[in-house]
Subunit: 149 residues, 2 copies
């Protein structure tokens, strides 16, 4: 059936970030929607942020377009030099190669949810606030000086 039974997909708060960045991700619960529904051209995830949680470390991708739709609650979209509140129905786009690190922060007292779509993993992901970089070809995180974690 095309409608996705979200409750049938286990939500996880795992992360592939190395420490200490992984420690900040415990309040982000996500479900990957592509594999159970058969989508392969792009990825889609349903994400729930507990109060105080962040969607990711602030980042931008050089080869991945990202797009999100807010579905419940309220989150603050933090980007380079700006903050914007997102509410249900709001959409945000993060075209590849635009060096504008972004993430969502839940500063409200209730959970919020959103759905995020993206190009399948490729290229590098850059993290302006922390000593971290993702190399999708090597499938590894590195320090900014190139040293592995």
């Amino acid at each position: 059936m095309p409608k996705i039974d979200l409750d049938a997909i286990e939500a996880t708060n795992r992360t592939t970030y190395p420490m200490p960045f992984a420690a900040e991700m415990g309040g982000r619960w996500f479900r990957r929607l592509g594999p159970p529904s058969g989508l392969t051209d792009f990825g889609a995830s349903h994400v729930r942020l507990e109060p105080g949680a962040i969607s990711s470390q602030r980042h931008w991708h050089d080869e991945i377009d990202e797009f999100l739709v807010m579905t419940s609650g309220e989150a603050v979209l933090v980007e380079e030099g700006a903050e914007t509140v997102l509410r249900p129905g709001d959409c945000a786009a993060f075209p590849k190669g635009v060096a504008n690190g972004h993430h969502l922060v839940n500063r409200a007292g209730e959970d919020c949810t959103f759905v995020v779509m993206g190009t399948p993993d490729r290229g590098h992901c850059h993290y302006p606030d922390v000593d971290l970089e993702w190399d999708s070809e090597a499938k590894t995180y590195r320090h900014k000086d190139g040293a592995p974690y």
Copy 2:
């Protein structure tokens, strides 16, 4: 700014369908979100259906993944042999090559809105209920016997 100012994008009810199928599309108002926001890896549209409107003729794509997020109101997802009500926060996926024609119908008394993402146009689009087929290479609609409209 990553947040998309939906009000700044003119909604249109145009359609490329030939008649008589075009005549059924007047209550579907959409905004293409990719071009104004810089997304190119996949398309995204914000769609509003007036009461009685349909999202498209019932169809399936052989080379395009489609994915939608319901954002307000209520719509009925009509697929091959089944109907499912979609409400805000519901997600639905339509993987390419699955011969399950689908569309949304607004049978409620109020507008509904959703956001739909998809692979950039390619391959063929098949319409099980009507004498119509889309050929993305030739950029043309044809009758099922191959004759042009």
